[in-house]
Symmetry: C2
Subunit: 325 residues, 2 copies
């Protein structure tokens, strides 16, 4: 039985608790929170103060970190890797090398195994970029996200004056997908790849034309995209847009042959009803891998690119060869 700790209990932490329940070889020993423990309601897992985590280190085989990448994980992952095998979902792509170094230093000294940046991007999408690129050497890679809710862009909408609530969907442009799948290896601008669709609840009496203009011209977030702003009521937002769906596509097209005369397309796609629950399911599989890596002496920091696929499964290598190959 793999004993799991959950450090942080928001959408992702809840997803981890549910995912562990789907895996008969695991159980959640405790949820660790910085809030008053009595205020955190889980699906059944006992709740402890984050301050008590280290005291419980002998009861936990792997700690799953469910904090945010901006300020939580850069501090928490190295801190906890000193005492636990850990898995996190650090997803600030540009800062992964730096996070890796910080975690690797601690985990190498403590003899623990840390797997960072687990989820679907970074995570399963990274794996697919890796495999496809190694196989089709002469080719081009494309990653599309959506259709899905972007938390960051939804937050940006809600910061606009006069906005009561709002949600933003990132949507891949069908035309771009089609041209990538044709193998023509197009060069695509930001605008050609994704569009942004916003559902906005305006405060009473707010100037909708100004809100729309302000959203559409927001640098980094919306200005480089074709953005659609739909004004709806709070009731409509709650009824039709309360989910957290996401997904996307990793496509590589490449050429082979004496004169590179043959074309190939490798496509990987996800269509997810719940982004945090799916991310949690990926993390839980890698939690199993972290324990196996550690038992076989593979310590320090790892990413999905380092982990032998079979380590994710509860099945034995024999069973996997028999049923999956």
């Amino acid at each position: 039985m793999i004993r799991i700790g959950i450090y942080g209990y928001g959408n992702l932490g809840r997803g981890v608790e549910c995912a562990v329940a789907q895996n008969p070889d695991m159980k959640v020993v405790g949820v660790f929170t910085r809030r008053p423990p009595e205020k955190v309601k889980t699906f059944g897992a006992p709740v402890f103060s984050a301050d008590d985590a280290i005291k419980m280190k002998d009861d936990i085989d792997v700690m799953i970190l469910c904090g945010g990448s901006a300020t939580d994980l850069p501090v928490q992952t190295p801190m906890l890797a000193n005492h636990f095998n850990v898995v996190d979902s650090f997803d600030t792509h540009a800062r992964i090398p730096e996070h890796y170094d910080a975690v690797n230093e601690v985990a190498t000294k403590s003899g623990k195994t840390a797997i960072i940046s687990v989820g679907w991007d970074p995570g399963l999408f990274s794996l697919n970029r890796m495999y496809a690129g190694a196989v089709l050497v002469d080719g081009a890679d494309y990653t599309f996200w959506g259709k899905g809710v972007s938390q960051g862009h939804s937050d940006a909408i809600r910061r606009v004056e006069g906005v009561a609530d709002g949600k933003q969907y990132t949507v891949p442009v069908e035309e771009a997908l089609k041209s990538v799948r044709s193998g023509s290896a197009p060069e695509l601008t930001t605008r050609q790849k994704h569009e942004r669709i916003c559902y906005v609840v305006a405060k009473e009496g707010a100037d909708k034309a100004r809100i729309e203009k302000e959203i559409k011209s927001m640098p980094n977030y919306f200005a480089d995209y074709d953005t659609t702003v739909n004004f709806i009521t709070q009731e409509e937002l709650d009824r039709d847009h309360s989910g957290i769906p996401h997904g996307g596509f990793v496509i590589r097209s490449g050429k082979t042959g004496k004169n590179l005369e043959n074309s190939h397309i490798i496509e990987y796609s996800l269509k997810l009803d719940s982004n945090p629950e799916f991310t949690a399911s990926v993390i839980v599989a890698y939690a199993r891998a972290a324990v196996k890596l550690n038992s076989s002496g593979q310590i320090g920091c790892k990413t999905v690119l380092d982990v032998p696929p079979a380590y994710l499964s509860p099945l034995s290598p024999e069973e996997l060869r028999k049923t999956l190959l």
Copy 2:
């Protein structure tokens, strides 16, 4: 520079020679053939007798076996794993455990690394079944093949009396793909998943009605499928059906959440102009991995499920983390 040997030189061997040319960290040292070497025309690689392979063992880092699964590989892979790191594409799914055991015994003793059953199915498709199944524990797996040429079924057509030549395409049924992608986890019969489309050149004066009936009722090959037989001329067959395209889909749908209320779809697909060249490209990436595994002391028999993804790439772990995660 990774020094590659190619053992057997048909479509796959030619594909391997081309694929190695696309990878600047590798070169082909020699092609080894059971035919008279002077009769084998390569794209430039020197040709030797298969009998001379073992004499050249110090010049070769990894031997890629390009023989068939029925009779060649069960003998050749263990034989050569006694002297070389090897990669093969053994694809008789049901006999993989037995092949693994035979190769593992030899490679463990010789201190070499063997990776068997490399390609796309078994191979990349197996990996996707592995990852998707580990992530979406409560779910169902579907593998569809095609649209593509099946060598075995084409051979079966050509054995029918009165047939001069022929080619068979395996085609996934669009309706079945759609229902799998909906997340409804349907149970599908053989007939519901794939149809078979045959292009047949009849000998002069042959009874086409009898040929069609004989093909459609052939047990194992065609009887369980909706099969279409199209009679065409040899010129048309040569003009329109000389390629070896293939591909397929691995789709897993699964549920997550407290009450399994959320649905997710993971889909992987390949669309290949040349089945042997793509298979060769996968094998060549795993040849690099075989050399890395061996240098780090990981000997014996492996499959794609055992190999850390990063081992396939010529890039360093640092570069991979920076560019792919």
